[in-house]
């Protein structure tokens, strides 16, 4: 591929992938096959967006990355280590991977500050004072320094999702996974969450983002992976994917999105 649109900056620098899905397959206990030989790489500092229609396996793929779902075949390589090997401690891997959920999943019985501090306190056995200091710092970073003492249920959806991002960041992860972080939000709150994510990306955080926000994918992603039916349809830079989609199924997917809300970003 000599196409200039298709150069992948991080890969070109010769860096090893931080996360490598190497032909992974996955099936749910009820037998439903959700991923078939899916492969893609995430390099350090890269933002990779996963796109695809509902049911294409995006959530499953992202959950496989932090081993919340067990892969049935293929290799998952994290920081150069094959973590699908039997003797790998999944808990240790998850400590290095942050995750943000569609429905926030804040812990309703804890204050906002404690939500952010709980990971370091429980998983990393950090001293409480240190964990709370970091939590306050991170709440300030997501613009919620005055909300530490309230319960999550007293916050708006956008605020809850920003807390959830702070909670994941508190583990000081090497990579952050986002599964449709704005899909459960009222339209007026989408912007504040995307702004925080954009800031993270600019700071060089490695991110894997499942999203239907095409403008975000277009402007922030370094690499876009299009999935359908548990398989990779195509991958490339956002410029290339959005401007010159090669596969009919990608075009069909974009066409449907456009029909729905007319928001396919160009240029």
């Amino acid at each position: 591929m000599t196409d200039s649109l298709d150069t992948r900056k991080m890969a070109m620098s010769g860096a090893e992938p931080l996360v490598l899905l190497d032909g992974i397959s996955h099936a749910y206990p009820n037998g439903k096959v959700s991923l078939t030989e899916l492969s893609f790489a995430v390099h350090p500092g890269e933002v990779v967006c996963l796109l695809g229609p509902s049911g294409s396996g995006k959530s499953t793929a992202i959950r496989c990355v932090n081993m919340l779902e067990p892969v049935t075949a293929g290799r998952l390589v994290f920081e150069g280590i094959d973590v699908t090997a039997k003797d790998v401690n999944q808990v240790e891997v998850r400590k290095r991977v942050g995750m943000v959920f569609q429905n926030f999943e804040l812990f309703p019985h804890m204050s906002v500050l404690k939500n952010v501090a709980i990971g370091p306190i429980v998983s990393l056995k950090r001293p409480k004072a240190e964990a709370y200091d970091l939590a306050r710092e991170l709440l300030a970073k997501v613009g919620l320094s005055d909300k530490g003492d309230v319960l999550p249920s007293q916050l708006s959806g956008g605020q809850q999702q920003r807390v959830a991002i702070a909670r994941a960041l508190a583990m000081q992860p090497d990579v952050m996974l986002f599964d449709e972080p704005t899909s459960a939000l009222d339209p007026e709150m989408v912007g504040e969450v995307l702004a925080v994510m954009r800031k993270l990306a600019e700071e060089g955080m490695t991110m894997v983002v499942v999203t239907h926000e095409m403008r975000f994918a277009r402007n922030v992603a370094d690499w876009v992976v299009v999935m359908e039916d548990g398989r990779l349809v195509e991958e490339g830079t956002p410029e290339r994917i959005f401007e010159q989609p090669r596969m009919e199924r990608t075009r069909a997917f974009f066409g449907k999105l456009e029909e729905q809300d007319g928001v396919l970003p160009t240029g």
């Binding site: 998850r94 019985h109 994941a168």
Partner: protein, 219 residues
């Protein structure tokens, strides 16, 4: 009119103490046992769930009166003894039955915390045990408070059934007094007021506790 309470004070005081003691012991045993069984059935996998479900279902379907009489008259034969103390029999019968119901409340409470909360805990690098103690159990506990309160109230009322195996609890002592004094109206009415007050105190205390933490159970 209320002379009867003074005249038979020895019987009433014994009855009051036995009723309070019996219920205190039954609450502790049934909540502890119910919690153990409920947790085991929720987290123990299919075999544990099914095996422990058998005694739970049996106890929930047999009338408490029959359980009490069986424990008192029949169980000594099973264990090769001739006699079991009525108070001990009442503790066993009531705790088993109450524990069975409470185990179902505990199981339902744990199941009511959606699995995505577990995922969120795991994603933060917690172990399964940490997820249970830090994330799932506190939320489940809040939701369990009101139904456990109701079940404890039922247990207190049902403790009067222990009178049939001659446990000298308040209802049994009252019947003795009535037989002797021929004053059913004042004794039984006072007894009703007593149970009303006792149950209301317990229910209101649990309600107050729940109101304080309810916001933390919202999700």
């Amino acid at each position: 009119m209320f002379d009867v309470f003074f005249d038979y004070r020895g019987l009433f005081i014994e009855g009051l103490l036995v009723t309070l003691q019996l219920n205190a012991i039954v609450v502790v045993l049934s909540v502890a046992g119910g919690a153990l069984i409920g947790v085991a059935r929720h987290y123990g996998g299919k075999i544990v769930r099914v095996v422990l479900g058998i005694p739970v279902d049996i106890l929930r379907s047999i009338p408490l009166l029959v359980v009490l009489i069986w424990v008192f008259f029949a169980s000594p034969m099973v264990f090769g003894t001739r006699y079991i103390d009525p108070f001990v029999a009442a503790v066993i019968g009531l705790s088993l039955t109450q524990g069975a119901y409470i185990s179902e409340i505990v199981r339902g409470g744990l199941a009511s915390v959606r699995s995505t909360q577990t995922r969120a805990g795991l994603a933060l690098g917690m172990t399964r045990t940490q997820v249970v103690t830090r994330v799932v159990a506190p939320q489940a506990l809040i939701r369990m408070l009101p139904p456990i309160g109701s079940q404890v109230a039922i247990g207190i009322k049902d403790s009067t059934l222990a009178s049939v195996i001659a446990v000298p609890e308040l209802f049994r002592q009252s019947q003795i007094v009535i037989g002797d004094s021929m004053q059913p109206f004042v004794v039984l009415t006072t007894l009703m007021v007593f149970y009303f007050v006792l149950v209301m105190i317990v229910v209101r205390l649990i309600d107050m506790l729940y109101t304080r933490v309810a916001a933390r159970g919202a999700s």
